[in-house]
């Protein structure tokens, strides 16, 4: 019942939109589209497979870029977290590169890779790398010194110390970093497809707009929103399942 309450607002909004469209007499070839037309366009897209194909392309690129960016980010984060001199040495470099919008490296990626998956994955990896790296480094720094003392007092071996203290201590924060990066990956993939890469949901959205099919455009747009929401929901659920103790998660949220 509680969960259903959240749907009241969007449903009311859709109904009002539909009524407004009927009153002003919107047609599907004008700039607007009525919710019913959008639903029809969506079903058509599902039936001819075009939406699912595009979804597959976008998610493949997002997953590839996320995997690459997160892996490199975790690696670099561990190095910087465990070796502070290295972190200090590269701080300026990181601080200069980090604020560069991922889409700004599009021209370079395009020159190097041309159109297709490789270019899109490279940009997504670039975008995911920095937040994951910074959060990983912070996670390692934030292991309380007290825990390391507990390990010493109990005379844990260095292998035990790593597997029983360091890894479990950083794991929840790594997962939070991964969850945030997953959101970034989806945003960047669609952006790159809108801006340049002729594939995936972004491209479908762009094409529908340019060829004056607003119902199709809105259908794709809502679909992207739905995917983003479902992705976050699944990751939050997984996080709660994997890390049922609250204290750490509260800090992150």
């Amino acid at each position: 019942m509680k969960a259903l309450k959240g749907f009241a607002l969007p449903i009311a909004f859709l109904v009002l939109w539909q009524v407004w469209a009927m009153v002003v007499g919107l047609h599907s070839d004008t700039l607007g589209a009525a919710p019913v037309d959008i639903a029809v366009a969506f079903l058509a897209g599902i039936r001819d497979g075009s939406i699912l194909d595009a979804t597959g392309m976008t998610l493949t690129a997002a997953a590839g870029g996320l995997a690459m960016g997160a892996a490199l980010g975790i690696l670099a984060g561990f190095l910087f977290g465990l070796l502070p001199p290295l972190s200090r040495l590269s701080r300026i470099t990181v601080e200069v590169l980090r604020p560069v919008p991922a889409v700004a490296i599009l021209p370079i990626a395009l020159l190097v890779f041309g159109f297709g998956y490789a270019m899109e994955i490279a940009i997504i990896a670039f975008a995911c790398f920095f937040p994951v790296m910074l959060l990983t480094e912070a996670a390692i720094r934030q292991i309380t010194p007290r825990l390391m003392e507990v390990a010493r007092v109990m005379r844990l071996s260095s292998v035990q110390r790593t597997s029983k203290i360091v890894f479990p201590a950083v794991l929840p924060r790594l997962f939070v970093a991964f969850r945030l990066a997953a959101g970034v990956a989806l945003i960047v993939s669609v952006t790159v497809e809108i801006a340049a890469n002729p594939q995936g949901l972004g491209y479908r959205l762009m094409l529908a707009g340019q060829s004056l099919r607003p119902a199709d455009m809105f259908a794709t747009l809502f679909w992207v929103g739905l995917i983003g929401w479902a992705l976050n929901w699944a990751l939050v659920r997984t996080e709660k399942k994997l890390f049922p103790f609250h204290s750490l998660r509260r800090i992150e949220e």
Partner: protein
């Protein structure tokens, strides 16, 4: 019942004078221990012998090096001068049978492990076979009154429960010595009194030696066989005070005894000199 009997045995063997057992069986001895952090002298010329089964409390104004002294005993930091020996051996590294109860239980417990898994950590470290762990954990949690909370995470427990859990984990190390660094400082008065009595019964049950740092003067007198009073800048021993109060101690009657009050006055005057 058995606890009481055991306790009486111990008293018959070693008492009546608190200092007497020290001479008989020095478990830990500090000779001329001093410590510098850079050019700052933290501790100077600490000479103490602690006997097996003795309960020693340390008090002193803040900044007198109480916690530092405990950390030296634990082998977590090394003295700049002098020597610390444990069972006749010079101590350089933490010993497996010396456990520490930290004040900040929330940081010392592993938040991703349940109560029983936190106790398990000490057993895993000691290489206890998996098959034996379950029973040991159950017994230890029972001892500190947490049997019903075995599957809770520390964040789901009150401060008093978390500190009990840390004590259980220390007991899992099968310690001969328990070092406690203001363990009840963050707890409310009622919980604190309860835990004081629990720690007394645990210590007398298992005949461990206790080294207890506190800023609460009454707590030091109530718990200890002896109180070490440290003075600051640099931290050194101002006085070693025997506590001749009878055991088992009682929160009401012990605290009303004239000797208790006299000691309280003495320690209070001592601390006030530096505040």
């Amino acid at each position: 019942m058995t606890a009481t009997l055991h306790y009486l045995d111990r008293r018959d063997g070693h008492e009546p004078v608190a200092g007497a057992k020290t001479k008989r069986n020095p478990l830990i001895s500090l000779k001329g221990v001093g410590l510098n952090f850079g050019s700052h002298e933290v501790l100077r010329d600490i000479d103490v012998e602690i006997g097996e089964g003795e309960f020693v409390c340390v008090i002193g104004p803040s900044g007198c090096g109480k916690t530092t002294l405990l950390r030296i005993l634990a082998g977590l930091i090394r003295a700049s001068r002098g020597s610390v020996s444990y069972r006749g051996q010079i101590q350089t590294e933490p010993a497996r049978d010396i456990a520490i109860v930290f004040q900040d239980y929330a940081n010392a417990l592993l938040p991703w492990r349940t109560a029983s898994a936190n106790v398990s950590l000490a057993l895993e470290a000691a290489g206890t076979p998996r098959a034996e762990r379950k029973d040991r954990i159950a017994a230890l949690l029972e001892k500190v009154g947490l049997s019903k909370h075995a599957d809770k995470y520390p964040s789901e427990m009150s401060g008093g429960m978390q500190q009990r859990l840390q004590i259980a984990r220390c007991l899992a190390q099968n310690p001969s010595v328990i070092l406690m660094d203001e363990p009840f400082g963050a707890l409310d008065a009622m919980t604190r009194q309860k835990l004081q009595d629990e720690i007394l019964s645990i210590v007398s049950d298992s005949n461990v030696t206790a080294f207890f740092v506190t800023h609460d003067l009454e707590e030091a007198i109530y718990l200890g066989d002896r109180v070490i009073a440290l003075e600051p800048n640099p931290g050194r021993i101002a006085e070693l005070i025997d506590v001749p109060l009878a055991r088992p101690r009682n929160q009401l009657t012990t605290r009303e005894e004239p000797e208790f009050l006299a000691l309280r006055r003495k320690l209070f005057d001592f601390v006030m000199r530096y505040e």
